[in-house]
């Protein structure tokens, strides 16, 4: 087996060939691509439904689940899935205005982190797994994990395809959707379960604490790029994809973590779109929009 080159070259094609030569990078790119796809699609709806805090909360509940799994010798992914799904279904059952229940969600979130900390301290072994759950360890993804992610991605995309229109309708106009006979509770639970699964797999790439960079930032940026949902979802996916790929490539040549580059890229791109691109574009269409764009809505 020959050793793959790892030096940076000015020729991009050589770089790509070099990176693809390493099997750990291949796994990382495959897992990252699948994750970006599901995070981009679900993230659009997380933002549209103002569920960012909710999604964050059950990634933390997932952390408690994962820490428990490490302690019990189970796969952390199983713990993540169980934790985030319990959190997601619980929040969906809280009711239709659950996304506004910041206080209750915050209380559960804090307790979950505490619980996770307890499990970590009880686990006397190697702490690297905990670090991976919190901050992501995409470079350590195994071919089996890639396969698991692929299965999850297919399930999530099919699920989102089935509930696409009712979910969009209920996200934009809850009252009318309910009056039209949509099963709001079932729809809420279905969406939360999909997000819980998506979060659990995204955690492999970015970790519990940085999962927002793939779940929320691309979706939020896409809202400024397109006002037709199908196009905005496409934009959200593309942002997540390019951020992941670029993050992996940069981190290949530097000693710094992938998660940092992904979060940095999507954040930078968000700032550019939000404050430069969107303003220039909307100003051209309607001069009043610039003034009406709220910066601080609490004041």
């Amino acid at each position: 087996m020959s050793i793959c080159p790892s030096a940076f070259s000015p020729n991009i094609m050589t770089d790509v060939a070099n990176i693809w030569c390493w099997s750990f990078m291949r796994n990382a790119i495959e897992a990252g691509t699948l994750t970006a796809l599901i995070a981009g699609v679900t993230g659009y709806f997380v933002v549209l439904r103002k569920s960012a805090f909710t999604a964050h909360a059950f990634s933390e509940i997932g952390f408690a689940g994962a820490a428990w799994a490490v302690l019990s010798g189970v796969s952390p992914l199983a713990g993540l899935l169980i934790g985030s799904n319990i959190g997601g279904i619980g929040i969906a059952l809280l009711g239709r205005r659950a996304t506004n229940r910041d206080t209750q969600i915050g209380i559960v979130l804090a307790f979950s982190l505490g619980l996770g900390l307890l499990f970590i301290s009880l686990y006397s072994g190697y702490a690297e797994q905990t670090y991976a759950i919190l901050f992501g360890e995409i470079l350590g993804v195994s071919p089996d994990q890639v396969l698991e992610t692929a299965v999850a991605a297919v399930m999530i995309l099919v699920g989102m395809g089935v509930i696409y229109r009712p979910l969009l309708f209920s996200s934009l106009d809850e009252d009318v959707a309910e009056a039209k006979g949509m099963p709001m509770l079932a729809l809420g639970i279905a969406f939360m379960v999909i997000v819980a699964v998506a979060v659990s797999f995204a955690v492999e790439v970015t970790g519990v604490l940085l999962v927002f960079s793939l779940m929320v930032t691309p979706g939020a940026t896409a809202q400024y790029l397109a006002s037709r949902p199908s196009r905005a979802i496409l934009a959200s996916v593309l942002i997540a994809l390019f951020a992941t790929w670029l993050g992996l490539i940069i981190s290949f040549y530097t000693p710094y973590p992938v998660s940092f580059f992904i979060t940095g890229e999507v954040f930078g791109f968000y700032l550019f779109i939000r404050f430069v691109y969107a303003r220039l574009r909307w100003e051209k269409i309607s001069p009043g929009t610039l003034l009406r764009t709220p910066v601080d809505r609490s004041g």
Binding site: P166, A177, K180, G181, Y224, S227, P229, R292
Partner: protein
């Protein structure tokens, strides 16, 4: 005799909404009771009454979202059911999030096909229907505007298009005029009135101020004191009728232009202009 018979037949046929001795409320407490009314095709009805009298509750009963506590209600001759596509509904709401960056025509499309499962690949049918509805609501110019950027009056026109897109026979409009200035209020009322007249739609509209509605209304339903009075504006908007309803002395004043002012209750629903 024959004439009476003929009249009763036509009224039977045209009764889209009919209630007998109806009572509704929450947690065993009736907000109103003993309500009997019927509305036919093409009638434009104003629903008035103080806050908390149960105007929205009436809509919830008609939509099949709330079971009546007593009595019988028929929509199109059968019990109300949730999701009836023949009913268009604009719920009471104050704003839409200013950060909602979705174009209006998408919301209107969802009014027609938002209840269908699966992804829409072609989507031309609902797009055409959405454009027709936007046109009927005088909102075709708003089609590609973002929902979050609309003013109150613009938003109400988009909501009207969303309600009209399924070609309903009944429109339930919950305070569509609130937060609109007089000019926008008049514009929206003309639009709704136009829809009622040209499409033969039966519209029930909850409002706080009766005066802008008076030129368009066929009937008025006044809910207060746990009861309701229904009839023509001339029958309902009198000192006697409203005094009976409120149980305290109420005075209805009329100015030479036909404007109405209701004196003696905390909230006066007919502000003198």
């Amino acid at each position: 005799m024959a004439e009476m018979f003929a009249e009763s037949v036509t009224s039977e046929e045209s009764e889209l909404i009919k209630a007998e001795n109806l009572a509704a409320g929450y947690e065993g407490q009736a907000l109103w009771s003993g309500a009997s009314f019927s509305f036919g095709k093409g009638e434009f009805v104003a629903i008035l009454g103080p806050n908390g009298a149960g105007k929205t509750t009436l809509f919830r009963v008609l939509l099949g979202l709330l079971r009546p506590m007593k009595g019988r209600v028929l929509m199109f001759g059968s019990a109300p059911r949730r999701g009836n596509p023949h009913i268009g509904y604009i719920p009471q709401r104050h704003t839409i999030d200013t950060e909602t960056n979705v174009e209006c025509v998408e919301l209107v499309r969802l009014g027609l096909t938002g209840t269908r499962w699966g992804f829409n690949l072609s989507g031309d049918d609902d797009r055409n229907a959405a454009w027709a509805a936007l046109q009927a609501a005088g909102a075709e110019g708003l089609a590609h505007r973002r929902l979050g950027s609309l003013s109150g009056g613009e938003l109400q026109r988009v909501f009207l298009a969303e309600a009209l897109v399924s070609n309903p026979d009944i429109l339930l409009l919950d305070e569509p005029l609130s937060n609109l200035d007089i000019k926008r209020e008049t514009e929206l009322l003309h639009l709704v009135n136009n829809v009622v007249r040209t499409r033969g739609v039966t519209a029930l509209l909850i409002a706080h101020n009766i005066n802008p509605l008076l030129p368009h209304m066929n009937k008025v339903m006044y809910i207060a004191g746990g009861r309701m009075a229904t009839g023509t504006p001339a029958q309902v908007l009198t000192s006697e009728s409203l005094t009976r309803l409120y149980g305290v002395q109420v005075e209805v004043l009329k100015d030479p232009h036909g404007n109405v002012a209701i004196i003696g209750v905390e909230e006066h629903h007919g502000d003198i202009p």
